[in-house]
Symmetry: C2
Subunit: 489 residues, 2 copies
């Protein structure tokens, strides 16, 4: 894109001023529409060092009410961020509905930087580009407007700017070693940048190359392009997008009605095994902490299936400094206002830690599907989005264990009644539980589809037969132990 780039014509000064005024007003006028329509807008500023990204950004946001935008400047990843998946620190920054997020460089800068300093191998570059394309596609598929600007200046212009900044004591600090390095290796950088721009130039999130030779002109290009992008996005609402074919390795799962629920253990067997397995797990926890392997354990299952007690038997075995349990209820307003996976990206463990999710991102294809909290196209698309999400986690090195805690309908009724009739347990049963129970068959259909479509080899489902809770607990412990052992090998 850069190599065949055609510099746009800078208008005469008078026209430029006039258009600048018009564009500023247009953007100022659009913000209320964005708010009303709940459009989330992510704006990326990438480009050459000293190209003036920061100063143009400063001008652009003057048109927007400070309550409606955030700006983040991307630096090298912190120690903490290095212990999360590559996309983590980017995904958590996505704006909420009706608001802007401006990023002064982001994932492009990170990836091209690694290409240039030689730390990213060709194979890993391709993988990261694939991750980025999926990330951006997930955003636009979910109604985000993603505007990507690349600030372009020539080698000569960059040199001139660096020299000018350096010659003044008050500004010399603004020239980073990276800027000078770029200038000395301009052609090499150009070809790395160009390749990245070509590789990630998605029709739904295209690149716009900004002629950054003059600041005011750059500002005009950004403002006009941004306003045009917003206009287009405001014309659409809730688009349906094509469902992509599964590209992940899947394994067949049994249907729920094929599961034998008669499995049970005696009290003595249970006690002895529980102690033995918990000790083993505690030992493994230390090991994976030292080896910095992150573990994600996801629990889904029927109401009253025994998830809570099952989780407890896992966490009892763990060092409390190395795990976290995330009970997942309906999303908070600030969570609902973002991509549905955002709140899970936000809760990822650090390397070496264990995160247990009591209900998960699979809510999208169960409760959200059946209660109509999202559109058909949304939950149909979600199987692939979730497989992509878990693929990112697996590529990062995470052990992913997904449990479906299964009971039959009679067992649920018995447990509901017991809760209802036991004062100390009454808090555990609500009207909603009874309502959900009425939709058992619909849920069963949704669960079967979910298990079929998301049982990937890298993030497999396991059925916990939980008519006998003790059996289910021992089985869960064994699976967690086996999975961690396999990963530590």
């Amino acid at each position: 894109m850069l190599e065949n780039w055609n510099r746009p014509q800078r208008p005469e000064e008078a026209e430029l001023e006039e258009r600048l005024k018009a564009a500023n007003e247009r953007l100022a006028g659009q913000q209320m529409m964005i708010k009303e329509r709940g459009l989330p807008v992510l704006v990326l500023f990438e480009g050459w060092g000293t190209a003036g990204k920061g100063s143009v950004l400063g001008k652009v946001i003057r048109n927007i009410d400070p309550r409606f935008f955030k700006v983040a400047a991307m630096d090298v990843p912190t120690q903490e961020e290095r212990r999360k998946p590559f996309l983590y620190r980017h995904f958590v920054k996505i704006p909420e509905a009706g608001k802007f997020m401006f990023l002064d460089s982001g994932w492009m800068d990170e990836v091209t930087g690694e290409c240039l300093d030689g730390t990213l191998k060709e194979k890993d570059y391709k993988k990261k580009v694939e991750s980025i394309k999926r990330f951006e596609r997930q955003l636009t598929d979910n109604g985000y407007l993603v505007m990507k600007f690349f600030f372009h200046i020539s080698q000569k212009e960059q040199k001139k700017r660096i020299d000018a900044l350096k010659s003044d004591k008050n500004t010399s600090w603004r020239v980073g070693e990276k800027d000078s390095w770029q200038n000395r290796h301009y052609d090499k950088c150009l070809s790395v940048f160009d390749r990245y721009l070509n590789d990630t130039n998605l029709p739904a999130a295209p690149w716009y190359i900004i002629d950054a030779k003059s600041r005011k002109w750059a500002q005009l290009q950004v403002l006009e392009t941004l306003a045009s992008g917003i206009d287009t996005a405001l014309k659409n609402s809730a688009m349906a997008v094509p469902l992509l074919q599964n590209v992940f390795p899947l394994e067949r799962m049994p249907k729920l009605d094929e599961i034998d629920l008669d499995k049970a253990v005696t009290q003595e067997e249970y006690r002895a095994e529980l102690d033995r397995l918990q000790e083993r797990l505690g030992h493994l926890h230390n090991k994976l902490y030292r080896k910095k392997v992150p573990v994600i354990i996801a629990y889904e299952g029927w109401d009253a299936a025994g998830k809570g007690g099952n989780i407890k038997r896992i966490t009892e075995a763990l060092d409390p400094r190395g795990f976290e349990v995330h009970p997942i209820a309906s999303p908070e307003p600030h969570e609902k206002a973002r991509h549905y996976l955002w709140r899970f990206w936000n809760r990822l463990p650090k390397t070496g830690h264990i995160a247990v999710f009591d209900r998960t991102w699979y809510g999208r294809v169960m409760v959200e599907r059946l209660e109509g909290f999202c559109r058909e196209n949304d939950w149909q698309r979600a199987y692939n989005e979730i497989n992509e999400f878990e693929r990112e986690l697996a590529d990062w090195g995470a052990v992913i264990i997904k449990f479906w805690v299964q009971i039959d309908k009679d067992t649920q009724l018995a447990r509901f009644n017991e809760r209802q009739n036991t004062p100390a347990k009454q808090w555990k049963i609500t009207e909603e539980d009874w309502r959900n129970r009425e939709k058992w068959d619909l849920y069963e259909g949704a669960v079967n589809e979910m298990l079929q479509k998301t049982n990937t080899t890298y993030a497999p489902w396991h059925i916990l037969e939980s008519n006998d809770k003790r059996y289910a607990r021992l089985k869960a412990l064994r699976i967690v132990i086996e999975s961690i052992e396999k990963a530590l090998d």
Copy 2:
């Protein structure tokens, strides 16, 4: 995609039959919705030789009323087709609104075939992939559903089929030399196919890989995917899509009000020059016929600007066997039902021929824009679509000459009045001409924007100052001559 492909699980026979029945019924039910909503559906069948594309295609169309679909089997290009741009024979086959077009292999087969027989250089492969991505994007941007299936079988399976077909006298004719060649060079083909699938896997027109080991199972996959794609497409109507940044080399054009219209020639000068120039052009016409250079001359301009007379002075000079004039009025219903560029693709000259368009594809950004015949997003997108269209023509080797025939408002009024008052000329003036005249200022704004945004170096605009028609005619002849001479050099 093929190399990491995960074969989907074939269901048990009973389930397969049941789903097949359901999918057939679903598709049969969808056709009326497609008709009502005017959705055009383009379905591509690509894949290995003997993978069963044809037989599955035969089954799929059984569900559709024959009035609602067409099937085309793509063969090697004919002599006639070889004298058109690469995309021509594909573009002209796009379906009309509310109908299906099924292609039994198409542009993929053509491109990968050329890769495999070594006739396509790396640079040209990349160019063709870019053309194809633009073509498919233009279709989906314009509301087409594009479904792309790749029928996949293993080398062993292919061999088995070829042997079985060959062993029977009644079927041996069905094994082409190409099938056997593919089988002998399976790995090489696999990597060429895989690269192409990756390169053209657009989110809005993704590839679906069909496990073609069993015909019935392949049929089910196609039917279910097709029905799902149709469902998604039916959910949307008239989406706005992001406007892409111009990537073509543009040159500045004067605004209409900057044009000096006082230019004129005397009658004697005109006569002498006209003869001289027409003779020269006639001579060049023979030359470009022999050198097989196609020429496209596009006329736009105000009503009564003198387009007709101007065109006449060009064509008078030409051998009638080697040119065609296309007067462009409002589109016919079958033209309106397709991508707006379709009727122009259909009218492209053969190599060595000249096509003169009296009004053109630029109607999209003038009359269609101003009369509201298309949406804002449609005409805004059209500048880029047109630049892409002309880029294809230029890459094919065409000389493209675009004339804007300019007069001032007073001259138009005088000519209108003259037409009105001259019985022999009254047919030339209509109510519509008067109505358009009232919108002069709006048209002027649209024309200025059009000239700015589509004055590419490879398909430049030329202003013909036509207050003096004779001046304009001589200028047109000179520009045509110069442009052809440059191309013949």
